[in-house]
């Protein structure tokens, strides 16, 4: 199932929204895997010189005792010290907010940033934590059993998935 979201337009809106932060020499950090793809595109659109940071939040998940460790977890890579830096944290889909909670915890194990701005390609409903994005590419209103997933890296596209109500504990 396709969506009617225009990804290029959404990326353009994000770049526009992030423009005001450019003056603060921000460090951009993508969350594995989709967030890294989006962050890479934004980095180019904004003309940021610095290498991208990437986070794999597997070790910070709140459901580890249930789902266990993922052997394909990638090492997180923050190329520079985050202390006193303005961070732009990028993810593909903001849904429950749990991934962002985990990412914030991990970032603070690396240091104390001056600020963190959250930028997401898709903002959807279903929040379980008081977390909102400052910069949004597109909004989607989805039923509980509907999931949207970013496919990539080239080209980026969105895929809809239906999950059975039983699997969906959110």
């Amino acid at each position: 199932m396709r969506t009617d979201v225009d990804i290029e337009a959404a990326l353009g809106r994000m770049a526009e929204g992030l423009g005001v932060f450019s003056a603060r020499n921000p460090l951009m950090i993508g969350i594995h895997t989709g967030g890294v793809w989006v962050a890479e595109r934004l980095r180019r659109l904004l003309g940021l010189q610095e290498a991208l940071g990437s986070l794999d939040i597997s070790f910070y998940r709140d459901d580890f005792t249930r789902v266990g460790v993922n052997p394909e977890v990638k090492a997180s890579n923050l190329p520079v010290n985050v202390d006193n830096r303005h961070l732009i944290l990028v993810d593909d889909v903001l849904h429950t907010g749990r991934t962002i909670r985990a990412a914030l915890n991990e970032i603070f194990d690396y240091g104390r940033p001056a600020s963190v701005t959250l930028a997401v390609l898709i903002e959807r409903d279903g929040r379980e934590l008081p977390i909102e994005a400052q910069v949004v590419g597109a909004h989607m209103r989805l039923a509980r059993h509907q999931h949207v997933k970013l496919l990539g890296p080239e080209p980026l596209s969105l895929a809809m998935q239906e999950v059975s109500a039983r699997e969906d504990g959110a």
Partner: protein
């Protein structure tokens, strides 16, 4: 028996007692997971919250500073609470049995026991008598197995030498008494190295050692010819009561890894040793501290490998509601 015991109903690792019965895929999964924990150890805050609230007891019936310390650091980097018990000095001298000791600690809600014992099969015995929510890692039992050492050795080899199928590996020293040798042999044959040799005097080779899938050599120079990886074993003085070796000087002359014997191996061969080293008995300081030695990296990797094993054993077990998102 052991094979069934190590896995739960859905095929997940629930104890690690020996590398026997672990598939190539399971071993590679452990190594891949360990790889991702290396980065955690390189950060300023070397800690992730995976095992927060879990209790790990290091139950050491036989002294071992390094193995206990690396398990302790591994558990702490996963945010578990760790208690170290050197039992030889306490309860057993008052007549308490092994299982009584364990049951008492179980009643204190221990999630994971890391067990070191001088008797082969001790960890296995405990695993047979604990309820399903209690997990055991064997940290060395008698002459039987030392699975995390075997895993960290193959992890070290993969990091420094890449694919296993192109490698010739020689294991040198007290093959007869060594649990490390047994675990290394299981790991390396399961991963499919091109050739695995064991080098030792006849008195330190088990009978019919070929059945383990290795080629025995008593001539060290011949055995080292063209190898990529040299794995030294510790000569265990405490297990040397009999006449296994003529004298320490004579052993060093014939089987000690010296710079000139190292010349027989490939020029880029690496040297491993599980520690603690007997310098001047099985290994020359010039080799131990030389450019081909990966003995200290082994210690660093040992922490990541033990983190991986603990995370795999303790993760993914609770059937609580909640979804990945």
């Amino acid at each position: 028996m052991t094979r069934d015991l190590q896995f739960d109903a859905s095929g997940g690792l629930t104890h690690l007692l020996t590398l026997e019965g672990l598939s190539r895929q399971t071993i590679l999964e452990i190594l891949d997971t360990a790889e991702s924990f290396i980065a955690v150890g390189e950060r300023e805050i070397k800690k992730v919250p995976l095992l927060r609230g879990k209790t790990v007891v290091n139950l050491f019936f036989e002294p071992s500073t390094r193995t206990r310390t690396t398990f302790e650091i591994a558990a702490k980097r996963l945010s578990a609470d760790v208690i170290n018990l050197a039992v030889a000095a306490s309860s057993t001298s008052k007549g308490e049995t092994l299982l009584d000791t364990v049951r008492n600690l179980e009643a204190m809600r221990t999630d994971l026991f890391v067990v070191r014992h001088a008797e082969s099969g001790a960890a296995h015995l405990i695993a047979q008598h604990t309820p399903p929510h209690v997990h055991i890692i064997n940290a060395g039992d008698g002459r039987h197995a030392h699975p995390t050492q075997g895993l960290l050795d193959v992890f070290t080899i993969r990091r420094h030498k890449g694919a296993f199928e192109n490698l010739k590996v020689a294991l040198i020293g007290d093959i007869l008494h060594s649990r490390v040798a047994r675990s290394d042999i299981h790991a390396l044959t399961t991963l499919g190295v091109q050739e695995l040799r064991v080098i030792a005097p006849k008195t330190l080779l088990p009978t019919a050692v070929e059945k383990l899938g290795v080629r025995p050599y008593t001539d060290m120079r011949a055995g080292l010819a063209d190898v990529d990886v040299i794995m030294m074993l510790r000569i265990q003085r405490e297990r040397m009561q009999g006449a296994h070796i003529p004298s320490e000087q004579e052993y060093f002359r014939v089987y000690g890894l010296t710079p000139d014997k190292l010349e027989c191996a490939k020029p880029d061969a690496i040297v491993l040793h599980p520690g603690p080293m007997n310098r001047g008995l099985e290994i020359d300081s010039a080799v131990a501290d030389g450019p081909r030695s990966v003995i200290l990296p082994q210690v660093t990797y040992g922490i990541a490998v033990r983190m991986a094993v603990m995370a795999m054993i303790l993760g993914g077990r609770e059937d609580t509601p909640g979804r990945r998102a």
